[in-house]
């Protein structure tokens, strides 16, 4: 069918295999979702053929509903067929549930399944419906099977009348669902996000962290039921905050990374015994630390506490205009080939996907 040809051609263009000049009209940030209630909107790639058109924001339109002049009217709907004022904003969005999203992410980045820390799992008992039996509590009576059985009895005994297909089941037709108890490994997990909120981390850097953490959550949630998240911000001192504060706070002042690591250690020791929990500390900063001495302290904490106790320790360095980026280099020097620590450098938004792949690609 010729639509397949056209479709493949389109996909090739989007992937940049052909027609380089079109790349700039392909909407960027393909997999970066934004969250609205429980759905996530992800944009589909789209190429706009340029033509003479109006800029949309100047344009406005006619809507319907309540609202006084000056109140928000939301974003113009798809029906308007208008586009944003930058090529990058020309997005067609689809809404997905978190679970579907994680699947797409996993498929796209070819992420391996996470293997929970095997020997440390605790087993829980779960009931699982597994079969059908002629006895059981009325609450588990299976209508369809019962009906079938009765129907079969009617037909074999010649009682069945197609003109008047009334089936009355008797006691021995009744079928019930049965269950058995199975042992399931309980997979509890906690993600502890730490972020540097000192003056050098700007809005763009925080946005990158927000997007990264969103995707990390989406992926981990798929593997661990009841994933918990904790948030720590730090400059020269660290404190635990809720999710909203985490992304909104801006402090000024120095940076002592060890303060966050110490607080993280306390939280783990208090709430998440490593024998029962899969633990994922993520730390994001622009790589500026106050002193070499503090960095040495951090390295010691990682070595002595984190690496033996957590699934994997992850550090993401978001490039900023002000940061020296030294911390990443220090860690690279200290842990050249350690499987238990993942280091990732995120230069800008376009590198987010690569970075997520680095973080999650090891299947830990």
């Amino acid at each position: 069918m010729s639509i397949r040809e056209d479709n493949n051609r389109f996909k090739d263009i989007v992937k940049g295999k052909v027609k380089e000049e079109f790349r700039k009209y392909v909407s960027q940030g393909e997999m970066i979702g934004k969250r609205e209630n429980e759905f996530v909107k992800i944009p589909l790639p789209q190429i706009d053929i340029p033509n003479f058109r109006y800029g949309p924001k100047q344009q406005g339109g006619v809507g319907q509903g309540e609202g006084e002049p000056g109140e928000a009217a939301g974003e113009p709907g798809e029906g308007q067929g208008q586009a944003g004022d930058q090529p990058g904003e020309h997005l067609v969005e689809v809404e997905l549930s978190m679970d579907e999203l994680a699947d797409i992410l996993g498929e796209k980045l070819e992420l391996p399944r996470i293997l929970p820390k095997g020997h440390k799992n605790i087993d829980t008992v779960k009931t699982k419906y597994s079969g059908i039996a002629p006895v059981g509590p009325e609450g588990l009576r299976q209508f369809r099977q019962t009906y079938k059985k009765a129907l079969r009895r009617y037909i074999t005994s010649g009682q069945y009348n197609p003109e008047d297909p009334v089936i009355v089941p008797i006691r021995r037709d009744f079928q019930y669902r049965t269950f058995k108890k199975v042992l399931q490994p309980q997979t509890k997990a906690v993600v502890i996000y730490m972020m540097d909120v000192s003056g050098s981390m700007g809005d763009e850097q925080k946005e990158i962290v927000r997007i990264e953490s969103f995707w990390i959550n989406a992926w981990l949630k798929k593997h661990y039921k009841g994933l918990e998240t904790r948030f720590i911000i730090h400059d020269a001192a660290a404190k635990e905050v809720d999710e909203n504060t985490f992304f909104r706070t801006s402090e000024s002042g120095g940076t002592l990374i060890s303060s966050a690591y110490k607080l993280c250690q306390q939280i783990i020791e208090a709430d998440y015994p490593p024998s029962q929990w899969n633990i994922y500390p993520y730390h994001f900063s622009d790589g500026d630390n106050w002193s070499g001495e503090d960095t040495r302290l951090c390295v010691r904490l990682i070595n002595e506490f984190f690496l033996p106790n957590v699934n994997v320790f992850s550090y993401g360095q978001v490039e900023s205009k002000y940061g020296s980026g030294q911390f990443l280099k220090d860690l690279q020097k200290e842990f050249p080939d350690d499987e238990r620590i993942i280091l990732s450098q995120i230069e800008n938004r376009d590198k987010i996907l690569d970075s997520i792949k680095e973080f999650l690609g090891k299947g830990k």
């Binding site: 069918m1 010729s2 639509i3 040809e5 056209d6 479709n7 493949n8 051609r9 389109f10 996909k11 263009i13 052909v18 027609k19 589909l44 789209q46 190429i47 706009d48 053929i49 340029p50 033509n51 003479f52 058109r53 109006y54 800029g55 949309p56 924001k57 100047q58 344009q59 406005g60 339109g61 006619v62 809507g63 319907q64 509903g65 309540e66 609202g67 006084e68 002049p69 000056g70 109140e71 928000a72 009217a73 939301g74 974003e75 113009p76 709907g77 798809e78 029906g79 308007q80 004022d85 930058q86 090529p87 067609v92 689809v94 809404e95 997905l96 579907e100």
Partner: protein
């Protein structure tokens, strides 16, 4: 051909009969039952089974099938303006949905056949499109896929530069300029008393006017095109240095653009008309008791209007119903217009009963612009809570701007005129006497989007091959944009180009 199940076909016959009893007059309509994948494919092709190969159809298909697979949207109905009319039903939809779609389709079909703006469309377009596809495939075989595709990309970039009203204008024979007729519009002053003639229009004044007239004629004669041209595609086909195959592809794109144009010109009316009839046919004759809830659910879903998006189905159906009611009650004409007693207007009912007749007349001769212009009333806007929204740069969001009737009407008309696209015409194809193309944007308060404008201008240059110029207003200043094949320059009108180095002193 038609592959409806006996059950569906029985319903089709019933619905068709009801539609005819209501006075709908359709082409023969052939329904086909197809799978969701086929319907996505046809929809990607603009409703046609065969189109020329191009990635844009592949993109459309990708979007449609993705959103179907993710369960976000599905296409219930598709109908093609041809004779016989083809319409598609999706396999696996509920019977009630299928009936609703059929009733809706008969509405569209009646509209296609009877609305005057469709009178010039090719009713054998399905064959025509297939022929287009064959021709373009042949060019691909001869010149290579990439070459042809890139040229189609160029053509599509300018496909909206057509004159939407030109199909309805009788092509008159060009009148020879007769000098003796010219006397009449020399701009002489009117003289009632013959004896005053030489005083009111002294001979030297007459001579001066004549000279001016002749100059004007000569200038017009030298201009090319003589009149500004809105059908830029036609102009390029005739006058741009294109190869035969390029000329043919450009005219294919133009033909298809003109074919789809009336559907854009009547979107609100057409959807309103079809919705009016599916609602009438279904609720009065077809629905069973058990189906009414599903119908109401589906119907209201289609009619829903988000606070920030214009829904042509909703505005169309409401406006048609409003017209029907007004003409039934005699709420029109001088007496009605002049009545400003609120209470009297509210209970105004002259029992004229002309409503049905009126909406049939409306569907015959109006398009969206004239429809809104004539029938949108202040009462209607208040009742339907319409408002104008605009973008607030300070708060970075879209906000309700006003509920003023005139503003709403102006905004709607603006969006409908030329499909809410900028009107651009060729002023001069020999600009500066150097064979350059001069385009003019008839600016109506809204600037064009600069990045797209630049890219499009470059595409026009590739077709024209000589430098192209565009006059438009940007940030309240008239500007001339120029692309000569290498360099994109811009300058304010009346000043020199910004990027050209100053000429050396002689």
């Amino acid at each position: 051909m038609a592959n409806l199940t006996p059950e569906l076909d029985a319903e089709r016959i019933k619905i068709k009969k009801v539609a005819e009893e209501y006075g709908l007059d359709c082409f023969e309509t052939i329904f086909e039952l197809i799978t969701y994948d086929q319907i996505n494919q046809f929809a990607a092709y603009g409703g046609f089974p065969v189109r020329y190969p191009h990635w844009k159809f592949g993109m459309e298909y990708e979007h449609l099938s993705k959103s179907y697979e993710y369960g976000l949207s599905k296409i219930y109905e598709m109908v093609i303006n041809t004779d016989p009319c083809y319409a598609y039903l999706m396999e696996g939809n509920m019977l009630m949905d299928q009936k609703l779609v059929m009733a809706h389709v008969y509405g569209h079909c009646d509209f296609f056949k009877n609305n005057i703006w469709f009178s010039k469309t090719n009713r054998k377009m399905m064959d025509e499109m297939a022929n287009h596809a064959t021709r373009i495939r042949r060019y691909i075989d001869r010149h290579g896929y990439d070459t042809v595709e890139s040229f189609i990309d160029l053509c599509l970039s300018v496909e909206n530069l057509i004159d939407r009203y030109s199909p309805y204008v009788e092509k008159s024979v060009v009148k020879a300029d007769k000098p003796q007729d010219a006397d009449q519009n020399l701009g002489l002053l009117k003289v009632n008393r013959p004896y005053m003639r030489d005083y009111i229009n002294p001979p030297d004044f007459v001579a001066e006017q004549k000279r001016k007239q002749i100059e004007k004629m000569a200038e017009k004669h030298n201009r090319f095109p003589a009149e500004p041209e809105k059908d830029i595609l036609r102009f390029l086909i005739h006058h741009a240095p294109l190869e035969d195959w390029q000329q043919d592809i450009l005219s294919i794109i133009r033909d298809e653009a003109y074919y789809f144009s009336p559907q854009g010109m009547t979107k609100t009316m057409n959807e309103g008309w079809a919705s009016y009839w599916h609602s009438k046919i279904m609720t009065q004759k077809i629905l069973t008791d058990a189906e009414i809830i599903d119908f109401a659910d589906h119907h209201s879903g289609t009619m829903a209007m988000a606070p920030n998006g214009y829904n042509p189905y909703k505005v169309g159906i409401e406006l048609l119903r409003d017209i029907e009611e007004r003409w039934d009650k005699g709420q029109f004409g001088r007496e009605w217009e002049q009545c400003d007693d609120v209470n009297e207007r509210k209970h105004w009912d002259r029992k004229t009963g002309l409503g049905r007749q009126k909406i049939f007349e409306v569907r015959r001769i109006y398009n969206d612009v004239t429809f809104i212009d004539e029938f949108l009333t202040e009462d209607f806007c208040v009742r339907n809570k319409l408002f104008v929204y605009k973008f607030n740069k300070r708060t970075n969001r879209f906000e309700v701007d006003t509920r003023d009737f005139k503003a709403i009407k102006a905004k709607l008309l603006f969006h409908m005129t030329n499909f809410g696209q900028p009107i651009i015409r060729i002023e001069d194809a020999n600009f500066e006497n150097r064979g350059e193309l001069l385009l003019q944007h008839l600016h109506e308060g809204i600037d064009m989007q600069p990045d797209f404008m630049q890219a499009t201008l470059k595409n026009v240059q590739k077709l024209w091959t000589r430098p192209v110029n565009l006059v438009t207003v940007m940030d309240n200043e008239p500007h001339l944009y120029r692309f000569d094949g290498n360099q994109y320059t811009t300058h304010k009108l009346g000043e020199g180009p910004q990027q050209e180095p100053p000429k050396p002193e002689e």
